[in-house]
């Protein structure tokens, strides 16, 4: 495997973790989030900062995961107060707050971000395989979650919060759990990203990144797992195989979102289900 292929595989794996993590919050539990890149950034900045202090890779990943998850629970508190489009706008605002914060922090490198991040100690191929392993673990976890009682309960919360309360479901706790798990996994993706890129810039975690993650979820099929795995691979590879697709990435993503919303609101997963179910 060449270094180029290893880098592509790494990006696919990181995007997959990001999309599946947002899917837990938005797809499973029904809480719209337009600021998911902020938690990717929190994981990345935490891991990068600690790595520069000489902390070993497993611990930086763990710290990035936990920090993003804890802040995610705090942000999730807003979901207890606001719903639907209000929540979307609130989470979008949190993305901007994150960017505004890191850009002004000299200890986090300000506008220039953090560079000179130590190497992972693994060669690019081995590191790509580590990311693939992490993505596989996240896939396995989300498949488990979806089929567990937690997935069933998330479905109820996403469907009708008031009805869920009358069947004894602690809606607040389940929402915070979804935010905690989803944002923690985004933090893990951020930690994995830093040893791949070796430099992080604030703009990597901007609103466009949040929308790109959401696009992967929506095109794959909100709430599905395998549809999102497929859409992440396709949407990550698309700019690589076509120069035009790379130049017009946002335009193409936006057009695909519109087409999916118009013709298959439940994404690729819904399309396949309708084709295969008699």
């Amino acid at each position: 495997m060449s270094a180029y292929v290893a880098s592509i595989v790494s990006v696919v794996g990181i995007n997959m973790i990001l999309a599946l993590s947002l899917n837990i919050i938005t797809g499973f539990c029904g809480q719209v989030s337009l600021g998911h890149a902020a938690f990717y950034g929190i994981g990345a900045y935490t891991a990068a900062y600690l790595s520069k202090l000489g902390v070993a890779l497993p611990l930086t990943l763990l710290a990035g995961t936990i920090t993003a998850g804890l802040i995610g629970v705090v942000v999730g508190l807003t979901s207890l107060r606001v719903r639907h489009d209000f929540l979307a706008v609130t989470t979008m605002g949190i993305g901007f707050v994150f960017l505004g914060f890191v850009r002004k922090q000299k200890w986090l490198g300000g506008e220039l971000g953090i560079s000179g991040i130590p190497a992972s100690g693994l060669d690019p191929l081995a590191y790509a395989l580590l990311i693939v392993g992490a993505a596989a673990a996240v896939i396995a976890f989300t498949v488990w979650l979806k089929r567990s009682w937690m997935g069933f309960t998330f479905d109820a919360v996403a469907d009708d919060e008031d009805a869920a309360r009358t069947v004894g479901i602690n809606v607040s706790t389940y929402k915070l759990t979804a935010f905690g798990i989803g944002t923690a996994l985004a933090g893990l993706a951020g930690g994995l990203y830093i040893y791949f890129a070796r430099i992080i810039l604030p703009d990597t975690f901007d609103f466009v990144q949040s929308i790109a993650i959401l696009t992967m979820v929506v095109i794959g099929g909100t709430g599905s797992v395998w549809g999102i795995v497929a859409s992440t691979i396709a949407l990550t590879l698309l700019p690589e195989v076509s120069r035009a697709a790379s130049d017009y990435r946002l335009l193409i993503f936006g057009a695909m979102l519109m087409l999916v919303m118009r013709f298959s609101p439940d994404g690729l997963a819904g399309l396949v289900r309708r084709r295969t179910t008699p």
Binding site: W149, V167, V171, T177
Partner: protein
């Protein structure tokens, strides 16, 4: 006869209008109590306060010797306070049986970590299937609630509440919108609940069915109790007739 629940001097107002204005009454264990009254008397408000959906401005709600006034809805549901909505609220993304399973699996959903660890839904499915069979929806288990007519959706709402194994079931107008035949069948069905250990409080406008099935009646008017007692005695009172019809 022991008291299972008691509402004590409840007050609540919406935009200056008092929907409960010093409302107090008790529910005895094992009885079928109907709460009736003219429109705006505060019947649904009373039920929603007991279920925890509305918080009273003042007063107390005692259930099973415990003050539950400040407890949230889901905690009351787990303590044994079941509730069905006036306008049915099935989970539309679930099948009929899944709607009941999510309630039947209430031990699994008690905490997120327990919910994450558990996957088998077989026990909940069997329990839900038995309840749906008993309630007359045995043929509909795999259908979407959207495919069910209103009468069956109302039954589904009751089935879901029963699956929580409540001690007290609060039914908010389960007969509303049903044909007279459907209403009679539904009334017969809920009349059997006290025999299975479920105390029932029914809020209902259909007086004919109420008088047929209730053990006891509480009449509300302008947010407070106007009368209570055996159905025929209460309905014979002049003040009750006046509240209902405006004439004596």
């Amino acid at each position: 006869m022991t008291v299972l629940a008691r509402i004590d001097d409840l007050y609540i107002s919406f935009g200056g209008v008092a929907a409960a204005n010093g409302m107090s009454f008790a529910v005895n264990t094992g009885e079928f109590l109907a709460v009736i009254g003219p429109n705006g008397a505060g019947k649904t408000t009373a039920l929603r306060m007991v279920a925890g959906i509305l918080q009273p401005d003042s007063g107390r709600i005692i259930f099973n010797d415990r003050d539950v006034t400040s407890l949230p809805t889901h905690v009351r549901a787990r303590l044994g306070l079941g509730f069905t909505h006036q306008v049915v609220r099935p989970f539309y993304s679930f099948s009929t049986i899944e709607n009941v399973m999510i309630a039947a699996g209430h031990r699994q959903t008690e905490s997120p970590w327990r919910a994450l660890a558990g996957r088998s839904r077989e026990e909940a499915r069997m329990k839900a299937a038995a309840i749906l069979e008993h309630i007359g929806l045995g043929e509909q288990i795999d259908k979407s609630p959207r495919a069910l007519p209103l009468g069956q959706r109302k039954r589904l709402e009751v089935a879901r509440a029963i699956a929580l194994e409540p001690r007290l079931l609060l039914l908010d107008e389960p007969l509303a919108g049903l044909s007279s035949a459907e209403a009679a069948t539904m009334a017969d069905l809920i009349r059997t609940l006290p025999a299975s250990g479920i105390t029932v409080v029914l809020v209902e406008h259909n007086l004919g069915e109420v008088l047929r099935v209730a053990d006891r009646i509480v009449v509300l008017d302008a947010g407070k109790v106007l009368a209570e007692g055996a159905p025929k005695e209460v309905m014979a009172r002049d003040d009750v007739r006046q509240a209902y019809t405006g004439v004596v």
